[in-house]
């Protein structure tokens, strides 16, 4: 009776090991597949994300660039949330320091 119980336990842990190995290989396969699948889109999605983020920034604070913005006074309160993105934007645009005219974040 006890011997049978031990056999069953061994069998169970062996099956679990196999299952884990299979799952690991499945996950690796999926990552390879996804990598291949997304690779062409990866940069496109990133570019689109950054472009839309910049566009929102411009629409919110267009008055800094000299373009009239009827809601400039109300977007002022979005300032603290967006100042970090503004910094990222001018660095990405090849300006190590914030441009004159807008808010200087660094």
């Amino acid at each position: 009776m006890t011997r049978r119980g031990t056999d069953l336990q061994q069998l169970r842990s062996f099956a679990l090991q196999i299952w884990r190995a299979v799952r690991r290989r499945l996950r690796a396969a999926r990552e390879i597949y996804e990598g291949v699948y997304f690779a062409p889109y990866r940069s496109a999605i990133h570019r689109e994300y950054l472009e839309q983020r910049d566009l929102f920034l411009v629409l919110s604070f267009s008055d800094f660039l000299g373009i009239p913005n009827p809601v400039a006074f109300y977007t002022l309160e979005l300032f603290p949330e967006l100042i970090d993105q503004f910094h990222q934007w001018h660095v990405r645009m090849g300006m190590p320091r914030a441009p004159e005219g807008g808010f200087r974040c660094c």
């Binding site: 999605i45 994300y49 929102f56 919110s60 006074f73 979005l78 603290p80 974040c105």
Partner: protein, 348 residues
Amino acid sequence: MSGWGCHVLRRAGSGAAEAGPVGDCLSVVPQLNDLLDRRIVFFGGKGGVGKTTLAAAFAIHSGERGIRTLLVSTDTAHSTSDILETVLGPEPRRVTGECWAVEIDPGHETDRYISDVKRRIAGTIAPRLVHEVERQIDIARVSPGAEEAAVFERFTRIIEELRDDFGCIFFDTAPTGQTLRLLSLPELMATWISGLIGRRKKVNMLARMWRNVAGASAVGVLAEDDPVLSALEERRDRFLRTREILTDRHQTAFVFVLTPERLPILETRKAVAVLSRYGIPVSAILVNRVLPFDADGEFLERRRERESEYLGRIDEAFSGFPICRIPLDDQDVVGVAALREVAATVYQ
């Protein structure tokens, strides 16, 4: 006060031929009583026709009937303080009975908003940047449109927050142009902000997509509720609620004040057309400073002839609206007692 005690209220369109002298007295003015059942009443019209006087008179009357009433002056000239012979401020002060008054001061409202933004910024950005950001915000304070936006902000807040405290709110507005602009702002601003909200949602959607592709480390922590989006949505919702209240004829009335003269008639006609385009209901026309029937003299007789022509033109131009004529007084109307008498001539 020889002139008081006589007024005519008639449905215009009853015909110019029937338009009698001001001496025709009617003691029942149902349309004007209806006005006081409305929660929000605007007094508009060309500069100098007596908006401030009549708004104050109606507010005092309403307050003394036991309705908790707030008189709001959006005119930067601050004539309301002068006419009530008191000093009003940015918070409601009691005038008489249940009548309270408040004056919206653009400079004060701008400072209030700016300091609020600064306070919120202090908690969210790096201390070394605070000075730079405050400099930028101070520039925004003096930029064109800032005061208009601040007045509008206060205007929407009064309508939203004080509506429950007061049974009736009377707005003594600035001259026509400014007021039409103020009343059209809810729609214009809400539209613009809706556009920004759409953009922001798109950015958030792309951020989620990018995180799925590149992993959480590339985007950083994505807050479930974006503070930028919720700030925009809160503002849009407030503008839309204001617009809803302004265009509800059961809650809001717009009263035009004019004098029987050429230019006020022309300007008021244009203004009525603009308001109807924005869906804001016009409820009555008050013709102020009509020559009283017992004013004598050859000069006044000739003046009255001219006037009756204009009165006929007013009846014609504003047919469909209740029209109330308020006679010219031989005294200046200053102080609570005099204003009470003006209201008494209307509400005999």
